[in-house]
């Protein structure tokens, strides 16, 4: 046997085969390709509140109301609405809209979709519709929604991702299968092909109610977990937009021709959970000491290279009624030491639990060093998200640097999620519960006068920031990158792509 010859032939063949492709430039590409680390795991808007799914639901299902580029509410599937003087009845008139198969979207579909989110035992996130007492179809084009009591965030909550309208007939006929393949959609797109764990290919919904939209031939939502890979794909033109460019490469990418990186505002907040159920952070003085120990401005600078804003309150900076003028907790190591002494803290080591999300080990190391400086020794434990989500709700941690975001601009859901001790999630499992804050949460939601609401949310932020329900760290903008080939694409603070407005340049 002649090994040399076989090898030579093999190599030559490989080279010969590769030669014709060594030509720059890509083939004509009609659809818009978006890369994200967050994956689509279900096409049923009721079934998940995880980041990738939220992005997808927005493209598939229209809501009664929508937000325009300025973040204002405007008509969606409902062309008009009327709120009764006492604030407890909302009557919505539906426009003549159709599902992707051409069947009409009726008041029955709306009632079905909303009640399903509120009532279905498997509904992942019923909170936005919790105040909905009843929904009725007055006639095929009129929906009447009644509330327990006046509830200011309600119209905004009708715009949240899981309030998307699905087809009653289809879901009743196909059951859960209605969402595994080719669901009927009410939004700008329908599913062309879903390859779970890889990509979702979208095609325009021919019956979409906004005429002339989407302004493109389709889109691909591609899952790209590695951030360097997303950067490479943006640079090589294999993506038209990508989520989460690394902070360290923002400046360089902004300087690249053919790319833009506009740093769009987000409802994301980076913070550290402190477990209020366990010593030492069950003591408010130790929590305050932990907050005074951190130089939030320096941490923000180090983490984001100056692109994020230091956080001053416990809610995301992009939310309505965020109290931008509150001073936050000052960096004051001496005060921190004094508070620790007052609290009788004996220097026991705390466990800082982090998950595998990019950048968290950097953040944890910064916090560790600054806590060490005031005499709080800590040990970092890095686990994957599965373990993290078992240990945090189980109160098996002391501190947990992480992030969260809000799915709408109204602060109600954010407060219920992260600061309210009686709203179901134990203040994001910090087990912080202040009766005054819990009361204010309900009062602020029931208050219809914006000026008064502002004041109530200000109080909530003041109390929870001073009592250190969490340690707010920074408000990062989105670091999405956009290629020059596509225009009109952007992301709203609540993670919704303006994909239907985007067009491909020729």
């Amino acid at each position: 046997m002649n090994w040399h010859r076989i090898a030579a032939v093999g190599l030559a063949t490989a080279l010969a085969l590769s030669a014709p492709w060594i030509v720059p430039g890509a083939a004509a590409q009609e659809s818009i390709r978006i890369g994200s680390p967050y994956r689509t795991t279900t096409l049923d808007p009721m079934r998940s509140a995880a980041a990738g799914n939220i992005e997808t639901f927005g493209q598939l299902y229209s809501r009664l109301l929508r937000r325009n580029a300025q973040g204002e509410l405007e008509p969606g599937l409902a062309e008009s609405w009327e709120v009764s003087p006492d604030g407890t009845t909302v009557t919505l008139k539906l426009r003549d809209a159709k599902f992707s198969d051409g069947s009409p979207i009726t008041a029955d579909d709306v009632v079905f979709s909303l009640l399903r989110v509120r009532d279905d035992k498997e509904s992942a996130y019923p909170a936005p519709l919790q105040q909905l007492k009843d929904a009725k179809a007055q006639d095929p084009k009129t929906v009447v929604l009644t509330l327990e009591h006046p509830f200011a965030p309600f119209l905004g909550n009708l715009e949240v991702f899981n309030a998307g309208i699905v087809s009653k007939a289809d879901v009743e006929k196909r059951g859960a299968d209605a969402f595994t393949k080719d669901p009927l959609t009410s939004g700008p797109y329908a599913v062309s092909e879903w390859r779970p764990n890889d990509r979702l290919v979208l095609k325009p919904n021919p019956n979409y109610w906004r005429e002339g939209y989407p302004k493109n031939a389709g889109a691909e939502l591609i899952e790209v977990p590695d951030q360097n890979t997303r950067v490479s794909m943006m640079l090589s033109g294999e993506l038209d937009a990508a989520r989460e460019m690394p902070w360290s490469q923002v400046a360089e990418l902004q300087g690249r021709e053919g790319l833009s990186l506009p740093l769009e505002p987000s409802t994301v907040i980076y913070m550290t959970l402190l477990n209020g159920k366990k010593p030492p952070f069950d003591n408010v003085k130790v929590r305050q000491a932990a907050a005074h120990a951190l130089d939030v401005a320096a941490i923000t600078q180090a983490m984001s290279f100056g692109n994020a804003k230091p956080a001053n309150t416990t809610i995301p900076g992009a939310l309505e009624f965020h109290a931008a003028d509150l001073p936050g907790v000052a960096y004051d190591p001496e005060k921190a030491k004094a508070l620790l002494a007052e609290a009788g803290y004996n220097g026991e080591e705390v466990t800082m639990l982090i998950s595998d999300i990019a950048d968290l080990d950097k953040l944890a190391a910064l916090i560790q060093a600054q806590w060490q400086a005031v005499g709080i020794p800590s040990k970092i434990e890095k686990v994957d998200r599965g373990v993290w989500w078992e240990r945090v709700p189980g109160a098996d941690y002391h501190a947990a640097p992480s992030w969260w975001y809000n799915e709408t601009l109204d602060p109600d859901l954010a407060v219920r999620w992260a600061l309210c001790g009686t709203c179901g999630t134990e203040s994001f499992y910090t087990f912080y519960s202040n009766p005054k804050v819990n009361e204010l949460t309900e009062a602020a939601a029931a208050e219809l006068d914006p000026a008064k609401r502002r004041e109530l949310y200000r109080q909530i932020q003041e109390i929870t920031t001073n009592e250190v329900a969490q340690i707010p760290l920074y408000y990062p903008p989105f670091t999405n990158a956009y290629g020059a080939r596509v225009e009109g694409l952007s992301m709203s603070p609540a993670l919704q792509w303006s994909l239907e407005d985007a067009s491909v340049k020729n």
Partner: protein, 312 residues
């Protein structure tokens, strides 16, 4: 006859292997912390919704019962449904299998000839300049972090020169070759040194063996001796190593698949492990097991053909 009966025996032995793997992996996965439903429903999901979905997916049943349900379905050819996607596991795996198989075949086609050529060249100039250069290449290749090489190649050949795509798998054979070129080269960059060092050591050893010395004393030409005596007698350990590495690649080309966003079994596995998608992990485990056994068997059969003293 002996080959066939031995083959039959090996296939029979496959059954306990598969059962063993399925039991152990089932237990390990289910006992490790992390709730797939919590990960699926999202951070803000209510405890009630999580409990409800767990119940509907049968995740709160006793472990033993879950296992028997699983095996019962398995016997009927049903690998179960993905917890994350609610799609049949079999379909999911079949979607991701081709890219991985293609990549491995590509890697073998690149690595084996290169490794053999380099090892032969090195062995024949043992201690010489060529040998030293090849050994240096091998050391560097082995100690190079794969992700770093992969990233640099994608930035250089993909972004700067634009010769190759930096992601995906493409459509059609030629497109696959094009898309997977950089991933295959990145993988070969550590596989070639591994094989080459192994083969070189074996070759040098064999060149000093008695029967080779005897052939030399008979006045046979070096090249003839090399092809007829040295090479065939030295490839066995390398063949074994290659088999081992192919088995490893079927489940382990994760780094390269992630860096080049290749929709292969490695990225499916990572996604499933991180999302605690029990039945997909189970299904993948069985696929790995089958593939490993097939590769091992192939290597063993080849070994008996090359060296009749080795028994199957």
């Amino acid at each position: 006859m002996s080959l066939f009966s031995a083959l039959g025996q090996r296939l029979l032995q496959l059954i306990p292997v598969l059962i063993g793997i399925s039991v152990v992996s089932f237990l390990l996965v289910q006992l490790s912390p992390g709730d797939p439903v919590r990960l699926l429903l999202g951070d803000r999901a209510t405890a009630e919704a999580v409990a409800q979905v767990r119940e509907r997916y049968g995740l709160d049943e006793p472990l033993l019962q879950q296992y028997f349900t699983y095996v019962g379905n398995l016997i009927q050819g049903d690998l179960g449904r993905s917890i994350r996607f609610q799609l049949p596991v079999g379909d999911l795996i079949l979607d991701f299998l081709p890219a991985t198989l293609f990549l491995i075949a590509y890697v073998v086609v690149i690595s084996v000839p290169a490794a053999v050529l380099l090892a032969v060249a090195a062995a024949r100039s043992q201690g010489g300049l060529v040998d030293q250069a090849i050994r240096l290449f091998a050391v560097v290749g082995m100690t190079f972090p794969v992700f770093w090489l992969a990233l640099m190649m994608s930035r250089f050949f993909g972004v700067e020169l634009g010769w190759f795509p930096v992601s995906g798998y493409g459509e059609g054979f030629v497109d696959h070759l094009h898309h997977l070129f950089l991933p295959a080269v990145s993988t070969s960059a550590w596989l070639i040194p591994l094989l080459l060092r192994n083969l070189r050591a074996a070759l040098i050893e064999e060149m000093q063996a008695d029967h080779v010395t005897a052939s030399r004393s008979k006045g046979l030409g070096e090249t003839y001796i090399f092809r007829r005596h040295v090479l065939p007698n030295s490839v066995l350990p390398t063949l074994n190593l290659l088999g081992l590495m192919i088995s490893f690649l079927i489940g382990g080309s994760v780094v390269v698949e992630i860096v080049y966003a290749v929709p292969g079994l490695g990225s499916l596995m990572v996604g499933s492990v991180v999302g605690r998608d029990y039945y997909v992990i189970q299904g993948l485990t069985l696929v790995y097991a089958l593939a490993t056994v097939v590769v091992t068997l192939t290597v063993d059969i080849l070994s008996t053909l090359i060296d009749p003293r080795v028994k199957l």
